[in-house]
């Protein structure tokens, strides 16, 4: 029998803001952007949730519901620092930590119980340390598998602590709505409701053959989940697979010049992160979403791995042009680099092109300036003009 913990931080970004800015404590904090911008809520504090604000809600709507809220653009680097500290605590109790995002993770503590006591005790220990060391709160679910642990952690947020004991899986799931099942979105939920299924308990009473007839392969999977069966292992985080950035534009536009500016600035961010982590990558992926929410992603493989925005930008722009970007107004642009390797391993080139060496030196210098004086200390003329609005 495995002992799996799912740990999920409570209103992570908002809680960090409230901790770093005591004046926000007790106030509805909404992280995602300024109230009249076009983004969506990324996290909001429990005070804000009382007003009906939730994550993924458009910021305008959040503002309508909660006009006196504290709207913040978010400080990703700060959140990542805290996330790293959090993961470090988790890894002290088991090497089998699988982060799902920056504020949630699965832990397989089956083998750790002999060292630290039962899973319940380990979870208590972790939650206490998070409160003491990070001044943040978390909810946990403890169960024999990942699915149950995740459902459990979500049940009594914030500061939830729910244990599903072996043998109690079916009873635990029975009263819950079918939408709690993994892989049940609005569409499948509607399908299931048509079959007269409201709760997971309803599903448990049907036969697997019947579900397979109506839903095919998915039906069988849902049936297993409904009985609380899930043998997916907890797989520790792999090395970074890709580094990317994307942005939703403040207005949809087909202005090529402007879009190129945005692409360049995204490429610059990606390149800077690559260099900071000592990585180079060969696969460049471009993502474009148009005004009708039609999304395309296109990728290309370079003959030589890179960490330079010049190369990333040129490649991404060539992909964009091949796909006639701007034919319809563009809503979102994204650039990412994958096929990563450490910059000090791999193929050595025969020709050191002067242009490449110049680029390397240029970026070394610019990176040093930014490290010392901040990201805005030095920037491209092209990007300055863009921020100024009209040319």
């Amino acid at each position: 029998m495995r002992r799996i913990i799912h740990l999920d931080m409570d209103a992570f970004f908002a809680a960090i803001e409230q901790r770093d800015h005591p004046e926000y404590k007790g106030k509805p904090v909404i992280v995602g952007g300024l109230p009249n911008t076009r983004g969506v809520v990324s996290t909001c504090s429990y005070e804000a949730r009382a007003f009906g604000v939730h994550s993924a809600m458009p910021l305008r709507e959040a503002f309508r519901r909660c006009p006196h809220g504290v709207f913040l653009p978010g400080r990703m680097r700060r959140y990542q620092e805290v996330s790293a500290a959090l993961m470090k605590i988790l890894r002290e109790y088991t090497p089998l930590v699988e982060p799902l995002s920056c504020d949630e993770a699965f832990l397989d503590v089956t083998g750790s119980e002999r060292l630290f006591g039962p899973a319940e005790e380990i979870a208590r220990l972790i939650v206490t340390r998070i409160e003491a060391e990070l001044e943040l709160t978390a909810s946990v679910g403890i169960a024999p598998n990942k699915f149950l642990a995740k459902v459990a952690s979500d049940l009594q947020k914030p500061k939830g602590f729910v244990v599903v004991k072996p043998g109690e899986e079916r009873a635990f799931l029975a009263p819950l709505p079918i939408s709690k099942l993994w892989g049940v979105g609005p569409k499948t939920a509607a399908n299931l409701r048509q079959l007269g299924l409201q709760t997971i308990g309803d599903l448990q009473k049907r036969s697997v053959e019947e579900l397979r007839r109506h839903l095919g392969e998915t039906g069988e999977q849902l049936y297993r989940l409904a009985l609380g069966i899930d043998d997916r292992p907890v797989t520790p985080e792999d090395e970074v697979k890709s580094i990317g950035h994307e942005i939703t534009l403040s207005t949809d536009t087909d202005n090529r010049d402007f879009l190129e500016g945005v692409l360049l600035s995204l490429s610059e961010k990606v390149a800077r992160r690559l260099r900071r982590q000592g990585l180079i990558g060969r696969v460049i992926t471009l993502k474009i979403r148009d005004t009708d929410f039609h999304t395309i992603t296109r990728r290309t493989t370079l003959s030589q791995a890179t960490a330079f925005e010049e190369v990333i930008y040129q490649t991404a722009r060539a992909l964009a042009e091949e796909n006639q970007w701007g034919k319809k107004p563009v809503r979102l642009l994204g650039v990412s680099v994958s096929g990563l390797q450490k910059s000090e391993t791999g193929q050595v080139p025969l020709f050191n092109e002067p242009a490449q060496q110049d680029l390397r030196r240029l970026h070394q210098t610019i990176d040093q300036i930014k490290d010392r004086f901040g990201e805005k200390a030095i920037t491209r003329g092209r990007l300055l003009i863009k921020k100024g609005g009209d040319k």
Partner: protein, 380 residues
């Protein structure tokens, strides 16, 4: 225009001509082939503006001369599906359709206006003049090569290029002509090939030929032991002609790096081994990973590959090495590329360097083929 021809001969000619028709073009007329009669001969021309071809169709009887542009791939497909034997073709002046008739079948194709077909490059006309008066050949010809030798040279150089790279020196091959020798130089930035061919001629020239054109050239002229290819350079276009075929390509205007500088002259160790034994060993190694480690020690070459996901591979080969032991990493496919295009029974020489320096591979007993290759940094 009206003529009689043989299905087999026409098909063979069209097969060559359709190769240059672009797959995507903003100029629809380039999807056409130009059929033109001249001096009682039929010529078939195609181009994508970068490369082009003129093929003389053998065994044709011209009844009335003329010029017409018809959809190239369609024409080729039609001829391909006609029975062997005689075909009668002609332009119907009244409704501008092109008729293709055999005893039982009749095709009537729409045509493009022939006067809108792009003007043929100057060189095609020069070559026609040369052809008509054989004595002038030497005046314009850069050099002549046996088709088989040319085909081998292309095969031995083209793999070390990066045809889709935006940097011109990686997507083309340098042709250096001097002292009775044609030298092809190709690189994809990680490795470099130098291939020398003896040629007749006094010219000194240097130019870059796009990889794609070179591939076409090798395919069009094949490796017929009998054939000779004449090369001409006219107005920054390279022409290659053999029998009734003229192929031309634009050249790339760019600087090729000073490649002589990257060829090392001193090495840390030399091994000689049988081409086929080492190729088969490296092929086995490539099943595990694209990185390979060569470890040299007295009388032994060890080939090792390791992949965290798959497992590992190791093989010992006998070799005549006597110096101190050292290791070097390579992309195994880079080594295989070189070995694959060498005759099976030859011996190969690896001149290896320690550290992050280039190594040089050659065929034993021959100085006309040099492969310069950079190592792979390995962390095992």
């Amino acid at each position: 225009m009206k003529l009689l021809c043989s299905q087999e001969e026409l098909l063979r000619s069209l097969q060559l001509a359709v190769r240059v028709i672009p797959t995507k073009t903003t100029m629809p007329i380039l999807n056409g082939l130009l059929l033109e009669t001249r001096n009682d001969q039929l010529f078939c021309l195609g181009s994508d503006l970068e490369i082009g071809i003129e093929v003389q169709v053998p065994e044709v009887t011209i009844i009335t001369p003329g010029r017409v542009v018809v959809a190239g791939r369609t024409l080729y497909d039609i001829i391909r599906h006609l029975p062997a034997g005689r075909i009668e073709m002609g332009l119907d002046q009244d409704n501008n359709t092109f008729k293709i008739n055999t005893a039982q079948t009749k095709f009537e194709l729409n045509t493009f206006p022939a006067e809108e077909y792009p003007v043929l490059p100057e060189g095609i006309r020069t070559i026609r003049l040369v052809r008509e008066d054989k004595t002038k050949v030497s005046e314009h010809t850069l050099f002549t090569l046996p088709a088989a030798a040319f085909s081998t040279a292309v095969k031995q150089s083209i793999y070390a290029t990066a045809p889709n790279d935006s940097r011109p020196f990686l997507s083309s091959v340098l042709w250096e002509l001097k002292e009775g020798k044609l030298r092809l130089v190709a690189t994809d930035i990680n490795r470099l090939v130098i291939k020398d061919l003896p040629v007749m001629g006094e010219f000194e020239e240097e130019f870059l030929v796009p990889v794609k054109s070179l591939k076409e050239m090798a395919a069009i002229f094949g490796d017929d032991q009998e054939d000779e290819i004449h090369f001409l350079l006219l107005n920054r276009q390279l022409y290659a002609t053999s029998r009734g075929v003229v192929f031309y390509t634009r050249l790339i205007n760019a600087q090729f790096p000073r490649y002589e500088q990257v060829i090392p002259v001193e090495f840390d160790g030399q091994i000689q081994c049988d081409r086929t034994s080492i190729l088969t060993a490296l092929t086995r190694s490539s099943l595990v990973d694209s990185a390979v480690k060569l470890s040299l020690s007295p009388d032994c070459l060890n080939i090792y590959a390791m992949s965290p996901d798959l497992g590992q591979f190791s093989e010992d080969l006998n070799c005549s090495y006597q110096d101190e032991s050292f290791e070097i990493g390579f992309n195994v496919f880079y080594l295989m590329d070189f070995l694959k295009v060498i005759e099976p029974d030859r011996q190969v020489i690896f001149n290896l360097s320690k550290g992050m320096k280039a190594s040089v591979l050659k065929v034993e007993g021959s100085e006309d083929y040099t492969y310069v290759i950079m190592p792979l940094r390995l962390n095992y």
